[in-house]
Amino acid sequence: MRIFQSIRSFKNAVWGASLLSILVAGIGLLVIVFGEKYHLRLVYAAYVNLLVVLGLQVFMGNTNITNLSHSAFMGLGAYVAAICVTPVTIKKLSLPDAPWGLNTFELDAFSSAIISLTITGFLAFLTGLIIVRLSGIGATIVTIAILVIVHSVFMHRTDIFKGKQAFFGIPQVFDLYSIIIISIGVIFVARFFRESKWGIQLRASSDDDTSASAMGVNIFNLRLFAWTLGGLILAMAGICYAYFLGTISARPFYFSHVFLTLAMLILGGMRSITGAVLGTIMITFGLEWVRFMETGPVLIGIKFPEMLGLSGITLGAVIVLIMVLRNGGLVGNFEIEQMFLKGRNVPKV
């Protein structure tokens, strides 16, 4: 069975993913060489968000169904890995009442990640069975339900997840280099999926307004696959989050993170991987600047007023303006290799 319809789409995928990888790795390396220490953390957080945005893109970009549950899957990935990898000595302290012997074992980082991916992927698959049967706004509503349910469980099974308190003591496994490599891998995966014949079929079917019930079984399965793949990438993002920070709680995996990453995706344009990467870069740097302006700095001798909430307003404005002015985001269907491979048109859907 062939994955790509033509050798051209394969080539485009390789080209595009490579160019984006160079861009993404380039920014990371520049920061490693030139940046202050705190830039490294900032950039690491940006990479985690990039993974989230890519995970989101795999489903949203190809099916055109808005997903608002992505932060929940990221949280699942983070928690499962954290529960597995955290040393028993710490878990005895932090999770004294954990059920099912969760505080009596510890695994190495790699096995923990695999278990986390398996469990989150399986949960994504289960929820996917519901999601793919709904269309448009109905599906989006169920994703909100998933977000609230998962958050609720994180918050109230404090014996396992610690809720709003810190789940601490997770060993620091990753550094900036690791996440750069993972990001490149995920960029390739997302881009290959987009250009594969399944991706193309999905995108073709998403333009159609036919209700999901009228669709062939094939589209169901494809959607389910995209949803699960997205879930796996989100789990990976969660693992990266936990493996660097060392401390997690239920708080970061809720609405504010949902909106932040969603704004990143739709700013660049959810239909393309280039858009996803671009949006993440722009919002990350833009917000950093806005946050600086928020606290009323002195610039060129001018004292600016303190403007708390400016970053929230900026995010909201980005979402509204993109929706109103340029529904497809800044780049629409454009992929980066089109800048270089003139004349050889990428198959458009």
Binding site: V33, Q165, R291
Partner: protein, 421 residues
């Protein structure tokens, strides 16, 4: 490792001069040239960056970093207004040993990742102490990073018990943890003849809302009282009628209800209980210490007569805190509420340690804080970290109301504190 900004700048500039000379000397050796180019770019970018981000500051200053929640869920607990005002007061009077306070403040939007990167940034800029989002999921990683610099996390308002279980060593809270406020409230309740209590718990505020009521219950039972029932609630709750109906159903009428939650939710509970004819005390924790609580009595002065909360510093009229708030208001730097006012105390504690050690070495500062028998602060007379190391030993006030006006009901260090470590 740490250098004041101006020195840092000078260093970089001289670095550039050196590299420029080196470039001229070695223009034909390409591999060296590359290296030098890299060095040059690195210095250039640093200068650009430093001049962009840094506040122009001259002379030796006492830098304190505040990656705090000015927006988002935990914005009400930011200590920044009081800290700024106190720093201004000290600076106006010539600083500490001639050194002035310089506060580096940036909003985290209540986001842990942001707090962490800002912490790293402030550490690089040479702060000697950090105050951040007062929840353990942020304080733990922030403290772990700061530990590498020897810097202390000095929280003005953190009552979370997790921070005192020895996960990190460089953490100091300038107030008493939750079990103390619960115990103080219970002590007062027992003195008022309270026997039967109902506890309202919630996981939404971490251990603060989940465990504090249980500690209160423990202290009541220790004093011969009884816990009638535990009920669950979520934050926010704007209608308590189901819980109130549940209270009325109890076979024994409760003498008191304990809740650790926030305004305006608790205000609704107080009014709905009163409306339902439940004549019980409502006890609470520091979450109730909000200016908007007082306005619950707007329509009926007696409604707050049986409301009291164990809190972090006395906030009734005539208290040191109110005097401080007045002073700040006159300076055009309003400090609204108890949490913002507590910021003054950490600044004073740092000032004390700087004066004591005669310098700004963060490790020495921490040691000085922990060694002192008594450190003068603003909202109470003094605090001491000698006994507890990671949190202050200070009196825990219980605030109540008379005719709708705050009164100090008691202000002691509670004798029985439930075990919590």
């Amino acid at each position: 490792m740490r250098y004041p900004m101006t020195q840092g700048l000078r260093k970089h500039i001289s670095g550039i001069n050196m590299t420029t000379i080196a470039i001229i000397k070695n223009y034909n050796k390409s591999n060296i040239r590359e290296k030098i180019m890299k060095q040059f770019l690195k210095n250039l970018s640093k200068i650009l960056f430093v001049s962009f981000i840094a506040f122009p500051a001259f002379g030796d200053t006492i830098k304190v970093g505040f990656p705090v929640p000015l927006t988002g869920e935990y914005a009400p607990y930011a200590e920044i207004q009081g800290a700024k005002c106190m720093a201004e007061i000290i600076n106006k009077n010539g600083g500490v040993n001639g050194k002035k306070f310089e506060l580096l403040v940036q909003d985290t939007g209540t986001d842990t990742q942001t707090a962490i990167s800002l912490t790293e940034k402030f550490l690089e800029q040479g702060v000697i102490a950090i105050g951040t989002i007062p929840f353990s999921d942020t304080m733990i990683p922030v403290a772990q990073i700061a530990a590498g610099y020897g810097v202390t996390i000095l929280q003005a308002q953190s009552t979370q018990v997790e921070m005192h279980t020895g996960i990190v060593d460089n953490f100091i809270s300038n107030v008493s943890p939750d079990p103390f406020t619960a115990a103080a409230a219970a002590e007062y309740a027992l003195s008022e003849g309270v026997k039967n209590v109902v506890l309202l718990t919630s996981d939404d505020g971490g251990s603060w809302s989940a465990k504090t009521p249980l500690w209160f219950g423990e202290a009541i039972e220790n004093g011969g009282g009884k816990v009638l029932s535990k009920m669950n609630f979520s934050i926010p709750t704007s209608d308590w009628s189901p819980q109130v109906a549940e209270m009325k159903k109890l076979s024994t009428t409760p003498d008191a209800v304990y809740i650790s939650s926030i305004m305006p939710d608790v205000g609704v509970l107080i009014r709905q209980m009163k409306a339902a004819g439940i004549d019980a005390w409502v006890f609470g924790s520091d979450g109730l210490d909000d200016p908007s609580l007082d306005s619950v009595a707007d329509s009926d002065k007696s409604i707050l007569d049986k409301v009291a909360f164990g809190t972090l510093a006395p906030s009734q009229p005539g208290s040191a805190m109110q005097a401080f708030q007045k002073e700040c208001k006159a300076m055009g730097m309003p400090v609204d509420g108890m949490f913002p006012a507590l910021g003054a105390d950490v600044i004073m504690a740092i000032a004390y340690a700087v004066e004591k050690t005669g310098g700004t070495d963060p490790e020495a500062i921490r040691k000085a804080l922990r060694d002192a028998d008594s450190i003068p602060v603003r909202t109470v007379e003094s605090v001491s970290f000698k006994k507890n190391k990671s949190h202050a030993e200070r009196t825990v006030p219980v605030i109540g109301f008379k005719d709708g006006v705050r009164v100090l009901l008691s202000n002691t260090i509670p004798s029985f504190v439930p075990s919590w470590k």
